[in-house]
Symmetry: C2
Subunit: 333 residues, 2 copies
């Protein structure tokens, strides 16, 4: 099933969305908000599934679903923890600045605790106050968990995954080096992220969800031009079960925790850094990565970060070319 | 006024607590939870104030208030961001490991994004799975904000402070070096923190709240012995207005955001590191600090981290020696 939150109040209004994203049905008589549904998932999910079936059969009152009217499915969440599961991306970052990748990075996940108190809706502008901050997108996969007990292993963690979606983890590249040097993670350099209009249950993804990974292409356009066509199921060193278990090693996680994959990143077929789409490659899920490749190849980056008025579009399609989660489409404002 | 959440469900049940912490009155007819009150503070606070006045006059049905029945006032919150405002503490950390303190640390606040999805109640045990992790307390001051717009200055941020309280920011010292080396902040090394039984409005603190700082002594006992008697109003390089404005530089903050001061830490009267209470000093708000002082003076630390069965007590008193926020009292379990 597919779930979304229409804009209303602080937490939105829960709707069930049809598979083709054309229609939705009010679900507030079952749970007023997505967080409320996640808080009592075992009892609530069957009712939502039934509603989704009725919606598919056009057996109930339904409304057109407009992605532009959707809030983030969780407009505010109790947790947002973002991994860096595509170690290829991390290796490129290091290579571009001449640093070695520690061997432990292949076995010990990188993860940061992000701000979760405000997620942007999928069509909300990116509220950038200063272009000099170096605004970048990061297209990623996210999962939303149920409750996870402290010390849960990977298998248990996989079983706690309730929903899957996409995120644009907006990053202010020129603020990152100073914050990383302080060692305390990201505070100012990671402003509010945007979530996809729709989150879906893993079963909705069929064969596209296996081994704790989303096996779909992740599409990114910048200003209407293809920028990324990476495969999210490839080069993901740490699957979502491993990421969740990493976070839960010393504490339990509350239902509604959002866990991110980190920027999706593929190596080139020859094992080197990925090439731009124009050169026959799969492109990138963030501007920083193409700038790193440019630095490695040419000694300096040439692709600029986002400027006011630039538009970013992030989506994924099923086998028939239909949008799975709807599109994140944001203009820098 | 003083507010608390009695244990019930995921978010507790809002009560107004008498000034002496002996009595409380149900407030759920005004707002079911503290988060709900913070979401609509302008409309809700006057009703809560009226209830507090009635409670003080014993004009309404009241119940005994037992700190042991209190949940964290916000059992789960949308944000927990912890500063390191007592730069003295940071300087000692660095000195103990032979590193210089960057000059910028006196002007640019250190802050990390913490996990906010589960705060322990004031009497909940610390769920430590492995003593080898090096369990430590950190006694700190916290404030809870209303909504804060992106780019707010210090004055505006000060005006957004709704409530003041205490936190035990539990830290796993032996997991910290590896996480700091990764640069992404704390994930496994900062498990769930505990909040004081009661949060209070700034006006309740009278002269004890000024310049965006709590001017009260912060008391810490370990296993019944005095460990810390620091002055929270002294040596706080960054006041709460500055900390909130730092966090809000690139994004807005949601009502109910919890902002921490970092470990309260005083210099000795002679300007050197603080001395233990037994030696006539003010002691410490975390074990790591006495270990750093021991390292500087003796070449090695001698005070051990917390073991199973150890008890930590954190509180603050008003001029008459009455507990302001109630006590955090946790046993390592």
């Amino acid at each position: 099933m597919k779930l979304a939150s229409l804009k209303q109040g602080r937490d939105g209004r829960l709707v069930v969305v049809s598979g083709d994203l054309a229609w939705c049905a009010d679900a507030t008589h079952i749970a007023p908000t997505l967080q409320a549904a996640l808080d009592d998932w075992e009892n609530v999910a069957p009712g939502l599934e039934l509603l989704a079936t009725d919606l598919a059969h056009e057996a109930i009152p339904m409304m057109r679903f407009h992605e532009r009217l959707a809030a983030a499915p969780l407009p505010r969440a109790y947790q947002w923890a973002d991994g860096s599961a595509y170690v290829n991306h991390v290796q490129l970052v290091r290579q571009a600045r001449g640093a070695e990748l520690p061997e432990s990075f292949w076995t010990d996940p990188l993860m940061y605790q992000g701000g979760s108190d405000g997620f942007l809706g999928p069509r909300d502008p990116i509220p950038l106050a200063d272009e000099a901050w170096g605004c970048d997108l990061e297209a990623e996969i996210v999962v939303v968990t149920g409750d996870v007990a402290q010390g849960s292993d990977r298998e248990t963690a996989l079983g706690a995954i309730r929903l899957v979606g996409l995120v644009n983890d907006v990053s202010l590249r020129n603020l990152i080096p100073a914050e990383l040097a302080k060692g305390f993670g990201f505070v100012q350099s990671k402003p509010a992220s945007a979530l996809s209009p729709v989150l879906v249950t893993p079963d909705e993804l069929g064969d596209g969800w296996r081994d704790g990974k989303l096996h779909r292409r992740l599409d990114v356009d910048i200003n209407g031009a293809p920028f990324g066509r990476t495969q999210a199921g490839e080069d993901m060193t740490f699957d979502f079960g491993t990421l969740i278990a990493h976070l839960a090693k010393t504490r339990s996680l509350c239902a509604g925790s959002i866990i991110g994959s980190g920027t999706v990143s593929n190596r080139d077929a020859d094992g080197g850094p990925g090439r731009p789409i124009a050169d026959g490659g799969r492109g990138y899920s963030c501007i920083a990565e193409v700038r790193m490749v440019e630095t490695i190849l040419n000694g300096a980056p040439s692709t600029p970060f986002l400027k006011r008025g630039d538009t970013v579009r992030i989506w994924a399609e099923d086998d028939r070319g239909h949008s799975i989660f709807g599109a994140i489409e944001q203009t820098v404002g």
